[in-house]
Subunit: 239 residues, 2 copies
C-alpha cells in the first residue's frame, strides 16, 4: 500500500479524512507500523494525490489531516486489454498486475478454451474484482479505477462490440506463431487481446484477424497468462 | 506443463523413458488427461526437445517412446538477474516468471531493506528453488536450468564479485527516480539489478552506480517486484 486511496465516504471535510476498514487499518498497524504524526501519501479516488499527516490511529480508525492533494496521478496506459477469462487465482493476480501498469479498460472474454466453471467463480463478484483493482492502484500510487467488463459469450463480443472498439485504436492479437514480433513503444492507442491457457482455437484466431486485429507474438516461449500480459504491456507501453 | 523435462535418471535407453514422480504423474492424469498413444512434447535436461508417445500410464509410472529429440530449446536471454531477496511467496513466483522468460543466471542478494528472516525461509532450500525453476522451464518448453547464487551479504558481492560480473556485460540498476528510461531491446549482454520492496537505500544505490551500473527506471508507478522483473526483462529483451 504505497498510497492510501480515499473514497468519497472517507472524507470528513476538505482537509480531513478517516478510514475504518479492517484491511487498511491492519496494513497501517502491521506493515507501515504507523504512528500519529507520520506523513503518508494519500490520493482521492479518481482525483489527485498528495501528502497527509496521521492524526489518530487505533484499532477502529485512522484519521488524517490532508495537505492540498495537488499532484496528478501517474499517466494511464492507453492500451485496452481484452483477456480470455483466466482461472480464478490467475485472474486475481493479473488484475493487480495490469492495474498497477496503468491499464484502465479490461474486458474478460469467454473463448473455447476457457473452462465454463470459471464464469461461476466467486472471484468474479464485483466486490472481489474491485478489491484487486484497488490493490493494484494502491501499489502503483494511482487513483483511477479501471473499468472491467464481462463478456461471457465470444460471438456477440466479436460481432457486436469489437468493431466499435476498434474504430479509434489498433487491435493487437497476441498469439503464439503469429507473423509479427510484438511491437515496442506504441505511438497510438491499442486494444490488446490475450487468449486463455492453451490459446485461442484456430477459428477464434481467424475471426479476430478478420475483424482487423494484427497478430503479434513474443517468441517461442509459452508464458503463463499473468507473465504474458505483463510482458506484452511492458513492451507495448510508450511510457 | 507444456514440456515433460526428462532428467538423466528418467531415461531407460536412447529411445525410451519412464517418469515415476507423483507431481508429473498427477499432471499427466488430471490436466493432460493423457492416454497411452498420446503424443507429447518432451525435452532432455540441458538438451534438445522433440515428441514422444506415451506407451503406458498408471498411478506409478508413465512410459514414453521417444522420437529423435532434434529441436533446440528456445534461445536464452543474455541478461543476468541480480534480485534483492524477495519475501518467500514472491520469490517463488518470480523464479518461475524469470525462468520462463529465459534468464539463465539469477543472483539473490541481501540489501538493507531485505528482512533478515527471509534468508531463513524454507523457500531457499535448493530443492524448493529447483522446483520453481523446473516449473518455469516446463511452462516455456525450455530445458536449460538457470543457475541460482545466494549472496547473503551486500558488501562482499559489491566489492569482490560485481566487478568481474561487469567485465563483459553492462550493469543496469533498476530503481525509481533514476535518470534514464529503461532501454528497449538491448543489443549486448546485461546484468540487471532489481531492489527489494521499498527499494535499495541511497547508500546502496550510490555504491552500485559507482561500480559502473547505469540507473534506469520504468516511470512513476511503483511496481511489485514480481511485476517489475517481468516488465523490465520484457522491455530489455532483444528476442
Amino acid at each position: 500500500m504505497n498510497l492510501i486511496l480515499l473514497q468519497p465516504g472517507d472524507l470528513l471535510d476538505e482537509h480531513s479524512a478517516r478510514i475504518t476498514d479492517p484491511r487498511r487499518l491492519k496494513h497501517l498497524h502491521e506493515v507501515h507500523q504507523a504512528q500519529p504524526g507520520d506523513e503518508l501519501t494519500l490520493g482521492l479516488a479518481d482525483g489527485n494525490i498528495g501528502r497527509g499527516r496521521l492524526t489518530a490511529l487505533d484499532r477502529h480508525q485512522a484519521c488524517f489531516a490532508l495537505d492540498a492533494l495537488s499532484q496528478a496521478p501517474p499517466p494511464a496506459l492507453d492500451i485496452e486489454l481484452v483477456l480470455a477469462l483466466p482461472r480464478p487465482r490467475m485472474l486475481a493476480r493479473s488484475l493487480e498486475h495490469v492495474t498497477a501498469l496503468g491499464v484502465k479498460h479490461i474486458t474478460l472474454l469467454h473463448s473455447r478454451r476457457v473452462e465454463k466453471s470459471y464464469w461461476q467463480s466467486p472471484e468474479l463478484d464485483p466486490e472481489k474484482i474491485r478489491r484487486h483493482l484497488l490493490l493494484g492502484l494502491e501499489q502503483a500510487r494511482d487513483t483511477r479505477t479501471p473499468r472491467v467488463i464481462l463478456e461471457p459469450r465470444f460471438k456477440p463480443f466479436l460481432e457486436d462490440r469489437l468493431p466499435a472498439r476498434l474504430a479509434n485504436r489498433e487491435g493487437l492479437l497476441a498469439h503464439p506463431g503469429m507473423d509479427a514480433a510484438c511491437p515496442r513503444g506504441l505511438a497510438s492507442p491499442a486494444l490488446l487481446i490475450v487468449g486463455p491457457e492453451g490459446g485461442f482455437v484456430p477459428y477464434e484466431v481467424e475471426q479476430l484477424l478478420a475483424a482487423g486485429c494484427r497478430g503479434i507474438q513474443l517468441g517461442e516461449r509459452i508464458l503463463r497468462v499473468e507473465t504474458a500480459v505483463v510482458a506484452l504491456l511492458a513492451r507495448l507501453s510508450p511510457l
